[in-house]
Symmetry: C4
Subunit: 188 residues, 4 copies
């Protein structure tokens, strides 16, 4: 591999390996979601009706599985769109990635909580709180990358502003709705 | 890396990373199948006969493990054959991949269910239903890839038709047999 | 990437992806070994003596963890040595790889069994049986690769024979000792 | 890929694959930390107060999760800094890597222990003992790599000394504090 012609310092942390760690943690988080779905206990092993009843009774667990799987898939997609514009991984960016990953790895617990206590507002608070932490880490990362000149030079100023704006809008909207929901929950 | 000579837009989503996520989820699903096999409780820790009895009693769990492992291995092989012909990953293809992956990650639950209630027809319905979902997502993907011009130009029209035909036949046959089985189960 | 100058057909299955699946399953099997080690229940949460006692009582679980981790590490190392000489991955080689991987993924169960019932000869039979299955799949693969002309042409005939011989000796010796042990166990 | 111009023997073990195994095990260890956090049992499924109480009661489990996640993240970062200077992976280096990985894969157990028995000094001993094992394997590796001429020739003698010195200081300091703590714990 040739050194780039310009004098910009190379990435302090291997981009390939961080991508790898990221994809690995997402793959695992998405797969262990299923570990929270327990095989029901039946009194009659052969009864279709009883098994059907037991599975129907756990419907919220299955819905939570699907919802969380696609939520993680969507976050993975967004990371994909952002990460390609990053050229250097600084310590700050690594730290914010770890915050994102800690939220993603925490997802199976959130999914289990909401699957079990779907009607408990606090489950929703924990679940959305986890997504919002992820979002803010992503938003902060984007601005930090700009500040530390770690973005690809192929990204135009207009594109950067577009990404930043969308990031801010989504994160702020989600946080606003979250706080409203939290306020409603606590004062009920 | 040089830009390709033609003007076709580059892949919106990194093919390498999707391949990575796919292989990661398959590796994990195949490995956590084993978590459903529990070490039996023995009254006499040293008794060969009792442990042998306990393991024999769980034979269906072991068979389900092997069956599911090789089933996932086969699906992985088929993905391998298809994926090499994909050149661009569009949002639609990513979505269908997530459907496939959600089915694959759901497999350990299906395997546990069938291992535990091998004689319950509903277990089989869930198990096969999961495979069929995977198959249809794969079939749909193949046609979507054609429509969005995401297939490699090395793939001839005849090869494409061959793949599509085989996909349709397998998916339709499986669905037909599944519906027949479902009908028999529900009316018994 | 340029096509190779010779007319040998290219690998039917992506070597990189199989390597990936292999390493992924090994990484997971090695890590979920730890899931079998349970945090003990204490009557006095603050008691150093009671926790020490509880951990000492589970000593065989920890030994089994270490043993199994390094055993998988050793198998991984051997695969590393063999796999670099493979040039093409045929369906037969993939199948034998899946047999190897099913054994490796089964290891956490074997480790849990032997950690819990260290003094039960049948635990040892299952544990060693799992390793032997792995070994024979590896030996068979080596010969199949030769037969289907899938080995790298850099590998000399003498090197091939050396590998094959070592494979046979280790597999046969292990199987012999295993059968002897099995015979002793069953007739006790 | 061209052979390097010099006559130094090539890496006996694939560096890419070891990196892969390492990142895989770290990704999994970091993700299964969450499996130790159990969804609490509630008498009233809808009660925000009860769920809040239950989660607050398990605060130490959540703190242990975060702490351990970032600890593993830091160890991963350090490996990243060291590994880029390794050019060849010898058997000795592989062995020391396996020691590191066995410690890292053991982390979820340590995290669960300290999350459950935060006030028990022995939990802390196990936790820190695990980190220290990792550190010494890393320090030993660094010196072994020097001795076996496996370090990259881009690394200057001064840089090597700087890394070695820092490694020694951190490992020795941690071990000293650990022994002091151990002594205090055992004589209390």
């Amino acid at each position: 591999m040739k050194k780039p012609a310009t004098s910009r310092p190379s990435s302090p942390i291997s981009k390939t390996r961080l991508e790898f760690l990221f994809d690995g943690i997402f793959a695992i988080a998405m797969t262990i979601l299923v570990l929270e779905i327990k095989v029901p206990e039946l009194s009659d092993r052969h009864s279709v009706a009883e098994l059907g009843q037991a599975l129907k009774h756990h419907a919220s667990v299955f819905i939570s599985y699907l919802l969380s799987f696609f939520m993680l898939g969507m976050l993975w997609y967004h990371h994909n769109q952002h990460f390609r514009h990053l050229e250097r991984i600084t310590k700050g960016i690594l730290f914010l990635h770890l915050v994102q990953l800690a939220s993603a790895a925490f997802f199976p617990f959130c999914a289990a909580l909401i699957g079990r206590y779907a009607t408990n507002p606090l489950s929703m608070v924990v679940y959305i709180g986890c997504i919002i932490t992820y979002r803010w880490a992503s938003t902060a990362q984007w601005m930090l990358a700009k500040k530390s000149a770690s973005l690809s030079r192929d990204l135009t100023q207009a594109e950067y502003r577009h990404f930043r704006k969308r990031n801010w809008i989504v994160s702020t909207l989600m946080t606003g709705m979250f706080l409203l929901y939290l306020f409603n929950t606590l004062t009920k």
